[in-house]
């Protein structure tokens, strides 16, 4: 019995140590990467349009955006209300070419410094930059301000040609500077807001690589 308990503790500690090590090694290494040829890809398999208004009002934060559980959990009623608010804009939102807007901006920013080449294919690259689109949509500005602004939540990682993750950033959130009431958001307004913030998010990732 003692042996089994000891074994369980050993396994748990080993797993914990491995997780800590992985997190540390992947978080501080951007400055150490010797980029030469970078292939940029944008993965939209987790792309999700959402409005965070009622949920923000309920918790006083945008925590719903990041799926933060526990004390800040939101009610099903607030989530349902937000879903209804998102519905009229969903089709227009899903038609916005976020992938191209982000990808073009990243490539343009990186090449502007002239230190790293952009590869045409994965095979020709020394490293891959993988950007994942997660939640995007409209986020309430503040608890006491019902206006909303466009936001885009990404994560990204740099992988070497052996598939090893050299750096990862789990949350890269970009918000639009201007806020509007929900009624003021038409498909055109939505599109123009994302045409501003998606390139901004891409440029920002490119700048982090340029100034690493």
């Amino acid at each position: 019995m003692r042996i089994v308990a000891g074994l369980i503790v050993f396994i748990a500690l080993s797993l914990a140590a491995t997780a800590t090590e992985a997190a540390r090694s992947a978080s501080n290494a951007l400055g150490e990467i010797d980029f030469f040829n970078l292939y940029v890809e944008v993965d939209s398999s987790d792309r999700n349009f959402t409005v965070i208004d009622s949920r923000y009002e309920e918790t006083g934060t945008g925590a719903a955006l990041f799926g933060i559980a526990g004390a800040l959990a939101t009610s099903a009623a607030a989530a349902g209300s937000d879903n209804k608010k998102a519905e009229p804009l969903r089709e227009a939102a899903e038609a916005i070419p976020l992938e191209a807007l982000i990808s073009d901006a990243v490539k343009s920013k990186i090449t502007s410094k002239g230190e790293i080449e952009i590869a045409d294919s994965e095979d020709a690259a020394t490293h891959r930059l993988i950007i994942n689109i997660h939640n995007y949509g409209l986020l309430r500005r503040a608890k006491d301000d019902p206006r909303l602004r466009a936001f885009l939540n990404l994560s990204w990682e740099v992988v070497d040609n052996k598939g090893r993750i050299l750096f990862e950033k789990k949350r890269e959130n970009t918000s639009a500077p201007d806020a509007y009431t929900l009624d003021e958001f038409t498909p055109d307004t939505l599109q123009s807001e994302f045409e501003v913030i998606a390139p901004k998010a891409g440029e920002f990732i490119g700048s982090q690589i340029n100034y690493r």
Binding site: A12, A23, A71, N173, P177, S207, Q208
Partner: protein, 211 residues
């Protein structure tokens, strides 16, 4: 007898650990500050105003929680969060060659701090600690009061580990503050706004009749 005494001492120790407030020393590490996009704008004199505290939770930056996630004590900062953020902004500007001015300077950074928070998500054998620092930073023309540029910067850092106490929590919050400062440092929009304001000021000076 000795056994009971040890158990009692251990119990008191653990209670104090779980139920006593914890104070973290969080500050932007000047030595880790890098030159960034803001350096691409010509040096400008900018007054960093006191940061307005717009957080929902102003009294603490997190909660200590027990194994069931219940709050047992507060996590505090040794220095008020708005001051920590103001110092980080000043360091970023200086590192990029800008000059810190006073309230007579033509440009000011006006900041609303909306979040400064530490928390944890518990898994089966690991716990993921995360820190968030979020503020809306605006570049303001002090003469007219007009906002020239505004951006929400969202600093975040998380780490999965087997466990951790004050030192780990401090490291997480310092990394979140670093991420916030890096975002300000790399803001093309803020850089363009500073450059445009400086160019406009130079034009105005050029147009002034010499006495």
């Amino acid at each position: 007898m000795l056994r009971y005494l040890s158990i009692a001492i251990a119990a008191v120790g653990l209670s104090a650990c779980a139920f006593g407030d914890e104070t973290l020393n969080v500050a932007y590490d000047v030595s880790s500050a890098k030159v960034g996009v803001l350096s691409e704008a010509a040096p400008a004199t900018i007054h960093v105003e006191d940061v307005a505290d717009k957080r929902v939770e102003k009294m603490r930056v997190g909660y200590k929680r027990n194994g069931f996630g219940q709050k047992t004590a507060d996590i505090l900062l040794s220095k008020p969060a708005p001051e920590v953020v103001k110092e980080a902004l000043e360091t970023v500007l200086q590192k990029n060659g800008h000059i810190l001015g006073d309230d007579s300077s033509p440009l000011a950074l006006k900041t609303d701090l909306t979040n400064f928070w530490f928390d944890a998500k518990t898994g089966l054998v690991t716990v993921e600690f995360y820190g968030e620092v979020q503020a809306e930073v605006s570049l303001v023309d002090t003469a007219s009061g007009a906002t020239l540029y505004s951006e929400v910067f969202d600093g975040y850092y998380s780490e999965k580990t087997g466990g951790g106490l004050r030192k780990t929590w401090e490291r997480i919050m310092n990394a979140a503050l670093d991420d916030f400062a890096a975002k300000v440092n790399l803001s093309s929009g803020l850089k363009d706004a500073i450059a445009a304001a400086e160019a406009s000021a130079a034009d105005d000076e050029g147009a002034m009749p010499s006495s």
